[in-house]
């Protein structure tokens, strides 16, 4: 019986090995690129809602916007890498940025909500995925 042996090109095999070795590094860079897209959208939405439509003159100090940032890539308990867009704590006045952001996002009785996170999530989803795809392609090209 005839035998056929298929061999993958050495260059391709080397690239696969390198990709395996550098996965953590590449995933981290790709996630951060995507996170930056979401962060920009959240930041611009937040700037738009702070101080708008207030009953009294806004007392905004800019601390909430400046505390917004992107976390470094972390491995969660399920073994997935992720980055988070969130607020740095604590505030100078002792209050919590997350609490203020939550009141802005969901409102209170007598205070209308000014959603900035949810619209940013839906609006930046596609752009974030596309950015991560192109960043991954670039990283693979570099191998």
């Amino acid at each position: 019986m005839a035998n056929a042996t298929m061999k993958m090109p050495n260059e391709f095999l080397m690239k696969l090995t390198k990709l395996g070795d550098k996965t953590d590094e590449i995933v981290s860079r790709v996630l951060e690129a995507g996170g930056e897209v979401v962060l920009d959208k959240v930041k611009s939405n937040l700037k738009g809602v702070i101080g708008s439509g207030t009953k009294e003159k806004s007392r905004s100090t800019g601390e909430l916007v400046s505390s917004l940032g992107l976390s470094p890539t972390k491995l969660d308990r399920n073994g997935n890498f992720n980055v988070k867009v969130g607020f740095n704590e604590p505030r100078g006045d002792g209050d919590a940025n997350a609490k203020i952001a939550n009141i802005l996002e969901y409102g209170k009785s007598g205070q209308p909500p000014k959603p900035f996170l949810k619209p940013a999530k839906s609006a930046s989803r596609k752009a974030c995925i596309e950015t991560m795809k192109s960043e991954l392609d670039k990283e693979i090209e570099k191998l």
């Binding site: 409102g107 009785s109 909500p113």
Partner: protein, 113 residues
């Protein structure tokens, strides 16, 4: 049709005061506020958008147990063809004595000619 018009039609039989944006009168013991969130164009072909994705947040404020209303709202919204993208108990407001529950909704519409 628009999401706001659809929501108002769906919520009317539930006998709960509803307002868009902010509740202007003295609030009753139970009321709903609709906040429009996004109104994006989607499904592009031939340089044109064929769908509109509308999202809104329903904020339920009640001084009573919110569970019954939550179930009623969820059932009514789903039967009315609305997609629920998130439900969350925001918290109890000690100063106003209101329970605050948020339901995020979404619906797709074809763009009008």
């Amino acid at each position: 049709m628009s999401l706001l018009a659809d929501l108002n039609n769906i919520l009317e039989p539930l006998n709960i005061p509803v307002e868009t944006g902010v509740f202007s009168d003295t609030p009753p013991d139970e009321y709903l506020v609709i906040t429009p969130m996004s109104d994006r164009l989607d499904l592009f072909a031939d340089n044109e958008a064929y769908m509109i994705l509308s999202e809104a947040r329903l904020s339920l404020f009640t001084k009573k147990n919110y569970m019954k209303r939550k179930k009623e709202l969820t059932k009514a919204l789903q039967s009315g063809g609305i997609t629920i993208t998130d439900r969350q108990y925001v918290g109890y407001e000690h100063d106003t004595k209101f329970h605050h529950y948020a339901i995020d909704v979404m619906k797709e519409y074809e763009t009008e000619e």
